[in-house]
Structures are given as C-alpha cells and as structure tokens.
C-alpha cells in the first residue's frame, strides 16, 4: 500500500495514518457514534426549545419563519457535506487509501438527504411567505442541482461493479462537481433571484440574538447528527467490503 511508505516517513512525531486502515478505524468509529448521537439529540432538544418557545415571533413573517431552525442547518449541511465528500474522494484518489473513498460513499446519502430536506422545508416556508411552493430562484435551483450531483455520484458508484474502480470514477466526478458548484451558484444568482439574502454573515447579522443562538445550536445539532450517521454508515461499508477478512467475519459473528 502506498500509504505505508508515507507512514514510515512521518512516524517520528504523530502517526497520522494509524486510523487509515479500515480495521483500526472500525472500532474507533464505533466508539464515536454514541457520543455524536447523544450530543446531537441534546443539542437538537435545546435548540428546538430555544427556537419554539424562547425566540420571539418574527415581525413580518409571523411564526412561519420558525422553519429556519431546520431549513438553514440542512442547507448549510448539504453544501458542507458536498465539500467534505469531494475532499475525501480527492484524498482517496491521491493517497489511494480505501478508507477515504469509503468516507466519501458514506457521506453521499446523508448529503443528498440534507439537500432534499433543505428543498422540502424551503417549499413549506415558501408557501406562507411567498405564496408558492416553488420558484425558479437562484438558491432553490442551485440546491436542486446539488441534489442532482449527489444522485449522480451515487448512481455512478452503483453502476460500476469493481468497488475500487467505482471509488476512483466517482471521486473524479465529485471533484468535477466541486469545481462546478461555484460556477452553477453564480450563474443562477445572475440568472434570477427571489430568495432573501443571507441573514448571517461574517460582517454581522440581521437577526434577533435568541433566533440566531437557536439557529446556531440547531446547526451544531445537525453537524453532530450528520457525523454520527456518516460514521454508522462507514462502519457498514467497512464490514461489507472487508467481509472476506477474518476480523470482519469475527465482528459479524460468522465463522
């Protein structure tokens, strides 16, 4: 394996590649999953309490705005996960490490789910505020395209029988997509826009503090949820691909 050479070179300080082996990562992921699950549930409970009871009613949008506590975190996660997925896929191509590609595969369905939820909650929010379920607006369209890119990644991976070839081909596709995402984003922004501008930016915020705090807590809850879900899925993928090895068979209780 090419990683073992690298592993030897930088063994002096920290062994960065210790957990690059699926066999070692499997138990680590198993230990992390309960932590992220509990953190996600607690944060979601606290964030929903803040969002539903503590945060004030919006002056113009009434109580309908409260969907942002799901809508904005899912929209953020759909983009973050795509970049993370492309990053893992790229690492898989460069280092030829199997675990990186497995992580990319594990992230894709969660990212697609987040993109779908962002579109769904956006439609639910759009009906009372814009009076329509769907408009061909820049953000809606680019999120829809993002969903298509996730579906393309998963379809290409599923269409190739040889897993390692599937990893590389889907990895190339993920990288093409990540280059194209900003282009798509700006093309649709210039094309048409109705979606409100971002309320939160690095320059400051146009939201009331309790609303912002509730939204950020919910965003962290979604981070924890997505990490837990990706780790659970990568465990299944590891077992599936290592099913011929002794340790995986022992893990599954097959002799």
């Amino acid at each position: 394996m090419p990683t073992s050479k690298l592993q030897g070179q930088i063994k002096g300080n920290i062994n960065w590649f210790k957990f690059a082996a699926p066999q070692r990562f499997y138990p680590l992921a198993g230990k992390l999953v309960p932590w992220f699950t509990v953190i996600g549930i607690l944060l979601a409970a606290y964030g929903l309490y803040l969002g539903m009871w503590v945060a004030p009613t919006d002056a113009t949008q009434g109580d309908a705005y409260r969907i942002i506590y799901v809508h904005v975190p899912t929209a953020w996660m759909s983009m973050v996960i795509y970049v993370a997925m492309a990053g893992w896929a790229g690492a898989g191509l460069v280092f030829n490490s199997r675990l990186s590609s497995m992580m990319a595969c594990a992230l894709a369905p969660t990212g697609a789910l987040m993109a779908f939820l962002a579109l769904w909650t956006g439609a639910v929010w759009g009906k009372p505020t814009w009076g329509t379920w769907w408009v061909w607006d820049a953000r809606l369209t680019s999120t829809l395209v993002l969903l298509f890119l996730y579906i393309g990644f998963m379809s290409l991976h599923a269409a190739i029988d040889d897993v390692r070839r599937a990893d590389r081909a889907a990895g190339v596709l993920a990288l093409i997509g990540v280059v194209n995402v900003p282009i798509i984003y700006f093309s649709v922004v210039w094309w048409n826009t109705l979606h409100q501008g971002a309320s939160v930016s690095f320059k400051g915020t146009s939201m009331a503090t309790p609303m912002l705090v509730a939204m950020l807590v919910m965003a962290l809850a979604f981070w924890a949820y997505c990490i837990a879900l990706a780790l659970m899925r990568v465990r299944v993928i590891i077992l599936d691909r290592e099913r011929h090895t002794a340790w995986a068979r022992a893990e599954m209780g097959v002799t």
């Binding site: 298509f148 393309g152 798509i184």
Partner: protein, 232 residues
Amino acid sequence: MTSRPTSTGGLIDGFKTVLRRDLRVSLRRRSDTFSTLIFFVMVVSLFPLGVGPEPQLLRTMAPGVLWVAAMLASMLSLPRLFADDHSDGTLEQMLLSTHSLSWMVLGKTLAHWMSSGLPLVLLSPVLALQFDLSASATGVLVLSLLLGTPILSLVGAMGAALTVGLRGSSVLLSLLVLPLTIPVLIFGAGAVEAHNAGLGVAGHFSLLGALLIVTLMAAPWTAAAALRISME
C-alpha cells in the same frame, strides 16, 4: 488506428491523427450524424404543437427550446464518443501509445463537436425561422450555440470517459453531464433573451467564452484521467 504515428512528432501528432481518423469514421457513418440532427429538429418542432402556435409565446420560448434540444441531441451522440473504440480495443492501444492521451482525447472531442455540435449550429437558423425570431436574435442564437456546443462536447467527454463500458451507460451519462452543463444553458439562452429585451449581450458571450476556455484547459486532462481509471 489505421496509421501508426511516430513518436518524434510531438504532442500535436496524436491529436491530428485521432481527429482525422474520427472525422473519417463519422463521414462513413453519416446516418449517426443525421439521426442526431433529425432528433434535434423533431424535439424543437414538438414544442409549438405542445404549447400552441401563439407567435409571441413562441418567440419568448425559442432560445430556451433550441438550447435544451441542442443539449439533449448532443447527449444522444455522447455515449459513442468512446464506446466503439472501447469495444474494438482501439482505446487500449491509445492508452498504451507514447502520445499524450489528453491531446488524443481533445482530438476525439473536437471530432465529436464537428460531427454533432457544428451541424446543430448550422441548422439552428432554419429552426429559429419556425419560431419567428428576428434576424438579429437569430444571429445571437447562432453565436451563442457556436460558443456553447463545444463546452457541451468537452464536459460530455468527461462523463463519457467515466461511464465507458458500463451497463446502461447512456442514461447514466445524461444524469452526470446535464447538471454540469446548466451554466451553459443559462448563459446561452440568456444571451438571446437579453438581446430580445434590448440589453447588451457582451456579458453573456464573455462568460460563455470564459467557460469554454476553462473547460478546454481542464476537460481533456480530466477525461484522460477518467479513461485511465475506466480501463485499468
């Protein structure tokens, strides 16, 4: 390949050989080119039947309809870009050759554009007549297609390289490539709409040109990498 290229000719040699060969192949299989063209004409002609013959409505729809039909028509011919060479083993020989694979992919892509994209561009003024577009709007449409269809072939080459030799690859190919070509559709059809609205078209053409340059630099190289992955 029919003629064995010498390795002393530099980068361009493989490009020229592949381009000449692919053009000759497409000239000998004229029915492929014609079926793509007829598909384009039929899809465009179906729209007035579907939405009604109101001239004002047709004038508004024309750029979008022609552009979408051109995209679908170029998707139709994409699976053949590498599939035939893959099935008869030519692709393996190309990978083994000492010439730059990226340049050969560029040659194949250019041949694909000349045999499927360029005819669409040349035919589009006739179809614009059916939609009652003004002469100047037709000119803008033809120019936008001229700049945009090579991007479709280049992006399509990446998709075709990724899906070469797969089951049901033609549907998968459209699924992968169409989302990536959305900017081309937006700026291509947008140029004609901007012209009809009395706005300048320079911005749209500049963006299309920029997209063409970026894909021209990146796509052959990426498609060559994808071919190596597909063929290993």
